[in-house]
Amino acid sequence: MEPGDGVVNRPPVRRRTLLDWLLGLGLGSTGLAVFHPVRRFLVPPRGGEAETASVVAGSLSELPPNSGKVFPFGSRPAIVVRTPDGELRAFSAVCTHLDCTVQYKADTSQMWCACHNGIYDLSGANVSGPPPRPLETFVVNVRGEAGREEVVVSRS
């Protein structure tokens, strides 16, 4: 190549600009591809912090004596019951027989599985029907100011 000739020089100049433009486009878009996820990552997600070993089952006012409530505990259902004496207890709501979900039975103050009539007493013990084992027991705590208490269930 001969340097200095204006006619020969022109095409490389045009090619250089196109190349620089392409490079700039590539760098810009990869920069964006990195920057966008980073920016979104830094924004805290809605719906509170990391789910730990405890979960809010509901408000205490939802649970009059002799009632129960099934709520999601992770990916499995759990049940919190209030005994006729007003005591709060929580169990896994997964029937130990065939994994159906148990419910509270107010007329007998027991937990009952509709699938095969399995019955658990209010300490989670299997008292009648096919369930082979008691329900897994959880720990219940009440927190918050009077009148607006939350029922918090944790694994241990």
């Binding site: 259902p77 065939l98 979900t101 095969h116 009539n117 029907g129």
Partner: protein, 438 residues
């Protein structure tokens, strides 16, 4: 005749009275330690002998009655204080010898059928065993003079009796089947016995039972509440439950199924209730294939080209559709989970769908296609929601892949442009530096 003391010997009447007068007080059944530690003339001789009598002495060491202070004479009579065999085995002293057949039952019943007596040892224990026994096939045949039938000692053993809750007991739940089978699986012993219809009594019950879900529950899951022989046949009043009773017998545990079954149109048709489909001793794990008109299905036994066949087919189709749907959703959720998607709520819903599948299988026992389809419909509604959630998650996954593809294009663009740029720079440098030295 009875006095308030309720001593067993008194029940034997005047002879016992005589015994008492003869000094029976000192070694009576009472729970005084002195009674057990007193020298026992029966043992002195029988432990030196051989055979059954010696075995009786050894076996009795672990017997629950010995632990409660009873001795040989409480059942066999005679005089343990006597020093020679003749005096000890004096019929005048109530000696009854070996208690075979009815005599054995009578000896046990002397105490075990006496409420006042038993209350002192085991207040909640039933006292109707002898009465029940009398209603059993065993008891009735014994009364008819058959001495081969089982009596108390056949099942409980004669001298090594243990409490039922003692795991070493011959009538502990896990041992019951073997105990019954010691006669009932013995073809020689059972030869000549027939069913009510005159056919020979089979000896295959134990072998069949061992293939059943009940046996598996008892032995593999250690579920002592799983039924063994006596749970269906009765223990002391053992006999076949009777055709009309099957639903009730199975229903003692399987309430849901029994209730639905009894309310169904089949209650009047099925002579043997549950057993019609599930067999008796060899109850197998249920499966969906039993339902419908296809291969392995049971409905086909009676139904051909009728409404029943249509109902069976539709019930099977409904259950199959829910099962397939649950399986598909489950696979979908697993795939999404493996791809790092959040599916906690969907897994919760999937459980509900599985519950409906279980419920629909229970509903089959109402043999009502409409009811089954309703339950299945509820389950399908849940899986439909799951599919929508799955579709959303799949869309998110697609978005990730598309985003990746887009960044790949950008990255490749940069790489290609950079390489071109380097070439360009090198050429420019070569131009500046002049041609390389040769």
């Amino acid at each position: 005749m009875r006095t308030t003391t309720s001593r067993p010997m008194l029940a034997l009447g005047p002879l016992a009275l005589l015994l008492c007068l003869a000094g029976g007080e000192a070694r009576a059944w009472a729970q005084t330690p002195a009674a057990t530690s007193a020298p026992n003339g029966c043992v002195t001789c029988h432990e030196k002998s051989s055979g059954a009598a010696a075995h009786a002495v050894t076996a009795f060491a672990t017997d629950i009655h010995k632990a409660r202070g009873f001795t040989c004479v409480d059942c066999h009579g005679g005089d343990a204080a006597a020093t020679d065999a003749k005096a000890a085995k004096d019929p005048a002293k109530g000696y009854k010898g070996v208690l075979r057949g009815a005599a054995g039952v009578q000896a046990c019943a002397t105490c075990h059928s006496d409420a006042n007596f038993m209350r002192k040892f085991s207040p909640s224990q039933r006292i109707d065993q002898a009465a029940e026994y009398a209603t059993s096939v065993h008891g009735q045949r014994l009364a008819g003079g058959d001495t081969k039938v089982a009596t108390c000692a056949s099942c409980h053993t004669a001298h090594g009796i243990r409490a039922v809750r003692d795991a070493k007991s011959s009538v502990y739940p896990t041992n019951v089947a073997a105990t019954c089978a010691s006669c009932h699986a013995d073809a020689t012993h059972m030869a000549g016995y027939t069913k009510a219809d005159g056919t020979p009594l089979p000896t295959t019950q134990l072998a069949e039972y061992r293939t059943s879900v009940h046996f598996a529950a008892m032995t593999k899951k250690n579920d002592l509440s799983a039924p063994t022989c006596n749970d269906c046949h009765g223990n002391h009043g053992a006999r076949p439950p009777g055709a009309e009773a099957f639903v009730n017998v199975c229903g003692t545990c399987h309430t849901t199924f029994a209730t639905k079954m009894q309310a169904s149109a089949h209650a009047a048709v099925f002579d043997r209730g549950c057993v019609e489909c599930h067999s008796n001793h060899a109850v197998q794990p249920p499966s969906d294939t039993l339902l419908g008109m296809g291969e392995g299905a049971l409905c086909v036994t009676c139904h051909g080209d009728d409404n029943g066949a249509a109902a069976a087919t539709s019930m099977r189709a409904a259950i199959d559709s829910l099962r397939d749907s649950v399986e598909q959703s489950s696979t979908l959720l697993e795939r999404l989970h493996a791809s790092g998607m959040e599916v906690g709520a969907q897994q919760l819903a999937l459980r509900e769908a599985r519950s409906h599948l279980t419920l629909s299988r229970a509903e089959v026992h109402s043999l009502n296609a409409e009811a089954v389809t309703r339950v299945v419909g509820e389950g399908l509604a849940v899986t439909k929601g799951l599919d929508e959630a799955g579709a959303a998650a799949t869309a998110e996954l697609r978005f990730r892949r598309q985003g990746l593809a887009a960044s790949m294009v950008a990255i490749l663009l940069v790489v290609v442009a950079l390489l071109a740029k380097i070439k360009q720079i090198e050429r420019r440098q070569a131009e500046q530096d002049g041609p390389p030295a040769p």
